[in-house]
Each structure stands twice: as structure tokens, then as C-alpha cells.
Amino acid sequence: MPRAKIWGFLAVFLSAALFGLSIFSVFILNYHDFTIFNSVNLNELSTMTFYSVSIPLAAVAIFVLCTGFWIGWIILTIKVVPPMPEIVEKKDNSKIKAVFLCLITVSLAVLMIYGVFIRNFWALAVPALVISAVILGAVFWVGMAIITTRSTLVINKK
């Protein structure tokens, strides 16, 4: 088997296993009685430990949410005159969607900051899961592409 394919299989299995592990540790490990919204108490952690984990995570989450808000804001405020008549004629509801994007991102950011402030477990778990999903998803996707890509052309038997 070519070395690239071995890397591909390794990437797929490793990323799937790691993501499975993060799902297991976030949703199952701590909840033998399935009362998942109550049982993890971050107040037991020392303040130093809590903030050393929560600040980087919250910073990444706020950065992503700010990017979302910024996109919505630009769509709302940018003034361009479309030179193509066919574009002017089409009904474009992107400004309405941009308003929603701004509202949603601001609400999520407020919720995130409040969650960190009251030491809610999910304020940390959700961003951590999303970041893991993006990175591990990318590794998985590249691995799949490596496995399924033919490195040479099919031999023409004729």
C-alpha cells in the first residue's frame, strides 16, 4: 500500500476516534443518570484552572462570532450600485438575513460571556466541540480524499 494511503487511513481512523471520544466525554462520561444539564459543577475547579481553559476557548468563540457580526454589518452598511441591470431587477433579501446574522451573533456572544461568568459547563463544552469538529472534520475529509483518490490512471486492457 502506498505511504500516502496509509496516512489517509490513519487520518480517517484517528479523527473519527478522537471525535467519538470528545462526544463520549462531553455527553456521556459524566452523566450516568442522564441529567446532563445539571451534573457538571465547574465551581469545584480552582479559579486559575477555570480561567486558563475558559479564556482561550471563549476568545476563539468570540472571534468567530465577531467575524459573523462583521460580515452581517458589512452587508447591511456597504453602499454599492450594481452595474448589471439584471442584478438590480432581482429581489435580494440579503440585508434581512444580515440583520438576523447580526442579532444571532450578538445574542450568542452575550450568552457565551454570561455562561463563562456563571461557570456553566456548556459555555465551554459547545465551543470546544465545535472547534474539535472543524479540525477533526478537516483531517477526516482529507483522509477520505487520500483514500479514494486514484494515484494512477486505470490500466487500459485493450
Binding site: R3, A4, W7, G8, A11, W70, I71, I74, I75, I78, V80, V81, P82, P83, M84, I87, K90, D92, N93, S94, K97, A98, V134, I135, A138, V139, W141, V142, A145, I146, T148, T149, R150, S151
Partner: protein
């Protein structure tokens, strides 16, 4: 003087950067400057005759779907910067500039163990890592032909719907460029109005911007002596670029007599659809011809044979086709947008307001009817191009900027 030129793309056949790096490094070397070039792919033609080249890796995968990435590139995705590139491209960003800057930063650290530079010249990459590069104690200048805000505006004009607009906003790294450009020692732009444009887009102080006109190969772009065609207009440029204002050129064509034809040097349908759709709409298909991609020799021949070069641009950061045409003794009809009113002297062509097809029609007709005027403008154009836009002139002026920046930098320390 020892100069390090940084460019995230070095293709010498398309895209201004590669051509700029190739010619500027050659002419600077002729002026006695020791030139090193650190460049990303597509790599330039061999520069080793006059410069030391350091090649920086990049997979160039931003417009390719994962399943279409060639096997040998896929296998390299898992190296750290390639993986960053991969993730950001999947999020519709264009990370080439920022990852190039980080790669260049680390490569430079190794090079500086056995070399020193008097100045670093970044060619409009303006990646995040350009800022920590200042820690190496070398002044940094950057060339920005025009702010990317102009390109983003042009793209947003063409976009329809929320998703299209979102991906356009994500694509342009304006926050990064705005942050970095305010922290380099000097910005070089290619036209006077560019100073105001840069101030407007990135809040740069005017005294930190120098104007150096771009260069072009005046030896290559010379009239071939082939007979001129009558009533034949020429347009050179990317037909998908809204900034070129093609819609106004086509409107002009509808106002001109039927015997006036237009040749477009670019691909038409099916490769590029925008211009084709507009041509259908204005019903001028029988008068418009696309050449597709042409060699330099063919381009010089076209400039030499066609009657007038037309540019209907809404914005130009330099306007290379106008200068090339003038260098081939071809009169031009251009809009006054961006750099064009500086690049085209009124005795080499006619300037008209942008988005004004009637004014453009009048200017074209005035020239088509007057052969003597065309010949006179053609000769003036050649003289103007040689005196102002040849590469030796551009390199000499760039060197003056380097000297000024180094002097200012050393006086501060």
C-alpha cells in the same frame, strides 16, 4: 545595497506580481543592487542570473474542491501551514498571503544567520507575519497598486444573495492588510490618486506613501510596422472583472456605426460567460471577437494593427494596457477613473468620464475620422511611455524610495 523582495506568487506570465518581481529585480541588479527574491508558487522564470531565489511552499488549493486536489498535494496537506491553508480555504477565505508571510518569516530567520539585508520589499502580500518581521531590524516597504477594498466593492456589485456576499467578504483579508499596512515603513503605490485611495481604505498617513509608476517592457512593446486596420477597436483585460466597466463599452458599441468592430483580448464563452451574456443582450455578437489568451508577440501585433485601444474602466490601479498601446504608437480612449488620468497624457489619447457611453462614442468617432490626429497621438504616446513607464525608470525611482526609507529608519534608531 542588499534587498530582499517578497512575493507570494511569482508567475511571470499572468498576474502583475510575477511580472513586477521579474523586471524590478533585473533592473535593480543592473543598478548595482544585490537582490534576493523569496517567492511562492507559481514560481517565476529563472532569475538566478541576477538574483538569489528562495522558493516558499504553497499548495495553491483555494479554488479546488478536496476531491479534486491532486494526490501528491493531498499527501502534503498535513504539514502545519498547509493544513492552516486547507482549513481556511474550506471556509472560503484566501489565506495565501498570511501563510506566505509566516513561512517567509521562519525562512528569513534561517537566512539571516548568514546574510544581512538593508531593506525588505514586500509585494502586496501584507500578511500578519510581516509585523514581527520588523523585529529583525530591517526596514520594510510594500508595494500596493490599489487597495483590495476596490476589488471587494466590484465583486459585491456583482454578487446576488446573502451567501455570495458572505463568501466575498470572507475572501478578502482586509482586516489583516489594514493592520499590517499601517505598520510597515513605507507604502509604494503606482499613481497619485492611489495615495488618497489608500488613506481612505486603510487610514494611512499620506507622508508614508510614495508614488512610483509601474514599469513595462518598452523594447518588447514596439510598433511592428504592420498595416493598421480601420475602425477596429481593441480591449485588453479580464472580462469577468466588474471594475473594467465592460457593460459601458458594450453600450458604446451599440451607439457606434455597424462597421466599427471590437476585439477583446481574453477568453469569451464558454470559459467566461459575463461578457458573452452582455453581448447577447446588446445584440452586438457579429461585431465583437474574443482572441482567448495570446502570446506577447501576438499582443504586440494586435496593438500595432488595431485602430484604437479602449478602456471603459470604473477603477484602474495602473492601466497597463493603455501604456502598452501607447508604447506601440496606438492612440487610446480611456476613462478618467483611477490612475488612467495620470497614465494617459491628453496628447496621447482622449479621456472621457467613466460610465458615460455617449462621451466614449464621441471620442472614438473623433479619432476614427481623423487619421492624422491618430498618428500624432501614437507618436506622442510612444515618447510618453518610454520616458515615464520603462522598467529602468521604475527601478531607479524605487531605489530612491529604498534610500530614503533606509536613511529615515537609521536616523530613528
Amino acid at each position: 545595497m542588499r534587498v530582499l523582495i517578497l512575493g507570494y506568487r511569482g508567475n511571470p506570465y499572468c498576474g502583475g506580481q510575477g511580472i513586477y518581481i521579474y523586471n524590478l529585480s533585473r533592473e535593480l541588479a543592473k543598478l548595482g543592487v544585490t537582490v534576493d527574491v523569496m517567492v511562492g508558487p507559481p514560481y517565476p522564470d529563472p532569475l538566478e542570473e541576477w538574483a538569489t531565489v528562495y522558493k516558499i511552499e504553497n499548495l495553491n488549493i483555494w479554488s479546488i474542491k478536496t476531491k479534486d486536489i491532486p494526490g501528491e498535494k493531498l499527501a502534503r496537506v498535513f504539514s502545519p501551514w498547509n493544513f492552516v491553508d486547507y482549513i481556511l480555504t474550506r471556509l472560503h477565505m484566501f489565506p495565501e498571503m498570511e501563510t506566505f508571510s509566516f513561512r517567509a518569516f521562519f525562512a528569513l530567520e534561517k537566512i539571516l544567520k548568514h546574510k544581512r539585508y538593508d531593506i525588505i520589499h514586500d509585494i502586496q502580500s501584507l500578511g500578519w507575519a510581516t509585523v514581527p518581521m520588523k523585529g529583525y531590524g530591517i526596514p520594510i516597504v510594500t508595494t500596493v497598486h490599489h487597495p483590495l477594498t476596490k476589488d471587494r466593492e466590484a465583486d459585491l456589485q456583482r454578487n446576488w444573495g446573502f451567501w455570495d456576499k458572505t463568501t466575498t467578504i470572507l475572501f478578502y483579508p482586509l482586516v489583516m492588510q489594514g493592520f499590517v499596512i499601517r505598520r510597515v515603513d513605507r507604502v509604494i503605490t503606482s499613481f497619485m490618486e492611489g495615495v488618497d485611495e489608500l488613506k481612505k481604505a486603510f487610514r494611512i498617513k499620506k507622508e508614508r506613501v510614495s508614488v512610483v509608476y509601474n514599469g513595462m517592457d518598452v523594447d518588447m512593446f514596439q510598433n511592428t510596422g504592420e498595416p493598421r486596420e480601420e475602425n477596429a477597436l481593441l480591449f485588453v483585460g479580464n472580462t469577468e472583472d466588474t471594475k473594467k466597466g465592460l457593460v459601458y463599452l458594450f453600450e458604446t458599441m451599440t451607439l457606434l456605426p455597424e462597421y466599427v468592430t471590437l476585439t477583446i483580448v481574453d477568453d469569451g464563452p464558454p470559459k467566461k460567460l459575463t461578457a458573452g451574456d452582455l453581448i447577447k443582450k446588446y445584440n452586438i455578437g457579429h461585431r465583437v471577437k474574443f482572441t482567448g489568451k495570446v502570446s506577447y508577440e501576438q499582443l504586440v501585433s494586435l496593438y500595432s494593427r488595431k485602430t484604437i485601444l479602449v478602456m471603459s474602466s470604473l477603477f484602474e490601479g495602473f492601466g497597463l494596457p493603455a501604456v502598452e498601446a501607447m508604447s506601440c504608437q496606438t492612440p487610446v480612449v480611456v476613462t478618467t477613473s483611477g490612475s488612467l488620468k495620470e497614465v494617459v497624457s491628453p496628447d496621447c489619447g482622449i479621456l472621457v468620464p467613466p460610465q458615460d457611453p455617449v462621451a466614449m462614442k464621441d471620442a472614438v468617432m473623433k479619432l476614427l475620422k481623423n487619421k492624422k490626429m491618430r498618428e500624432k497621438m501614437g507618436k506622442n504616446g510612444r515618447k510618453w511611455a518610454v520616458e515615464n513607464f520603462s522598467w529602468p525608470v521604475a527601478a531607479k525611482n524605487t531605489l530612491e524610495v529604498y534610500k530614503d526609507v533606509i536613511k529615515e529608519y537609521r536616523s530613528r534608531r
